[in-house]
Amino acid sequence: MPREAEPSLNEKQFLLQAIQENLRLDGREPDQYRPLGLTFGDEHGVADVTLGKTRVLARASAEVTVPYADRPLDGVFTIATELSPMASPAFEVNRPTETEVLLSRLLEKTVRRSGALDTESLCLVAGQKCWSVRVDVHVLSHDGNLIDASCFAVVAALRHFRKPDTSIEGGVLTVYTPAEREPVPLGWLHSPFCVTWSYFGDEGETALLDATRAEEQVRVGSCTISLNRHGEICQIAKLGGTPVDALMLLQCTSIALAKVKEISSLLDRKLDEDTKQRNKGGRAAELTAENDR
């Protein structure tokens, strides 16, 4: 059973008072993200994201399997999040806490249900063989805002991942090893990101972006908006908490769009740098097969 360390009365009161005066403990603006860092692993599909002191590692992998009986033309795509005591001693393995369930559900809605990954492109032989893509999200350090960091890590890992190339001749499927043919990227349609706002005050009148753990513990409500850089909203989740003024919510959404554009271009830049680094020999041009969108 998790025994979460509660902040003291002094801390709670001070945080709320400081927020009323527009002060955050680390000197940030109310709508400012902590420094967002992204490193890719040597293997394809490994993304290490740091958001201040929060650190999330996402790893994409794929294997050939049998498709679901009711979806013979689609591949399988799963996102697994399991919080371990590495993130905080309050978490236990195999005992999902509310944080874990919410994180899992939000990632599901944002990345899976919005169709970011084209599952039809994962089909190999209709009804018999398909790719099963799996993303494992490991939270290494929890200092607030796991949702935004995890979503960013998942999207980065999937866009970085390369699955083995295949070909079908006369009904026989051949899967090529990386040594035989260069692996190919996944069929990617759009990149959604999550932006989480936290509300403070008796009427939820102050909104802060990217709350640290200490700020999360004293907030009265939160809202996660998932959208891509074209302004298409995948989902908005405000699960309980103090009611918030509707106009404020609209404002939060439009600021979220601006942030997502920044995050999206950061990801594009990092992916480009990574590609350049890997393909110093100049083979990159022959191998791109991804849709530009």
């Binding site: 025994r3 360390a5 509660e6 002094n10 001070f14 005066e21 002060l23 955050r24 000197g27």
Partner: protein, 246 residues
């Protein structure tokens, strides 16, 4: 107090017998990080620098960590969890078992006039009893003089977490010369008005009329701790923070 040689040791290392101080009258005292295996082995249990003090005939390992283990006579900042019939349960570090603070262990306290502490309140206390088999015990009054001497409930303000090494350096009598930390004095010299209490369990309480001041002190402490800043860099940090404030 520069010793001749201050070797870095790992747990289980053999200690060169010539480094062990001797004294005609006082017995050898072992500080943190060392254990005694009778009859004559002294072995480090953590990784750090071996420090000896010839005058006091003591030796210990100097190291930094973040997990506090209660030790008698330490001044600590605890958080009240709940109240029982005649004592408070006070937590000294996250995820550890609670220490006990009797209701009457305050200056001039009787059953009718004792301080009433709510859950979540902070207290500045001294550890009276700490051993591995029992929960620690605290007091907010000096047993000898009956005076509080700065101990007791901490009202208002904000508590920040620091590493145990920095807390120890802040508590040193001459924190600048011996501990290499001057950041609080520098902030005070720039005209900020605040008061602090430092707990050896890695917590620093800061109180001021201005919330901005408290935030600034908190940031100064955190950056000094995380960046391993020396006195020179602390000066630059303070100047930068003050500039940003104005």
């Amino acid at each position: 107090m520069a010793a001749t040689e201050q070797p870095i040791v790992l747990p289980g290392d053999a200690i060169d017998p010539s480094l062990i101080p001797t004294h005609k009258k006082q017995p050898l005292r072992l500080g943190p990080g060392l254990r005694h295996i009778p009859p004559s082995y002294i072995v480090p249990t953590v990784a750090g620098q071996l420090v000896t003090d010839q005058k006091k005939n003591s030796m210990w390992i100097e190291y930094n960590s973040t997990r506090y283990i209660p030790s008698a006579n330490d001044l600590v900042i605890g958080q009240v969890q709940r109240s029982a019939t005649d004592l408070y349960y006070v937590n000294l570090s996250p995820y550890t078992s609670n220490a006990m603070l009797p209701h009457l262990a305050f200056e001039g306290a009787t059953k009718k006039t004792r301080p009433q502490l709510a859950a979540g309140a902070l207290v500045y206390a001294r550890v009276t009893l700490a051993n591995r088999h029992m929960d620690a015990e605290l007091e907010c009054v000096s047993a000898t003089t009956g005076k509080a001497e700065g101990l007791g409930p901490l009202v208002g303000g904000m508590a920040f977490d620091v590493s145990l090494g920095l807390a120890r350096r802040l508590l040193m009598a001459r924190s600048r010369e011996a501990g290499g930390v001057e950041v609080l004095e520098l902030l005070g010299a720039e005209g900020l008005a605040f008061e602090t209490a430092v707990g050896r369990n890695g917590r620093v309480w800061v109180s001021s009329d201005s919330a901005k001041t408290i935030v600034l002190v908190g940031r100064a402490l955190r950056e000094t701790d995380e960046g391993d800043l020396g006195v020179e860099k602390q000066r630059k940090l303070v100047k930068k923070l003050i500039r940003g404030m104005r």
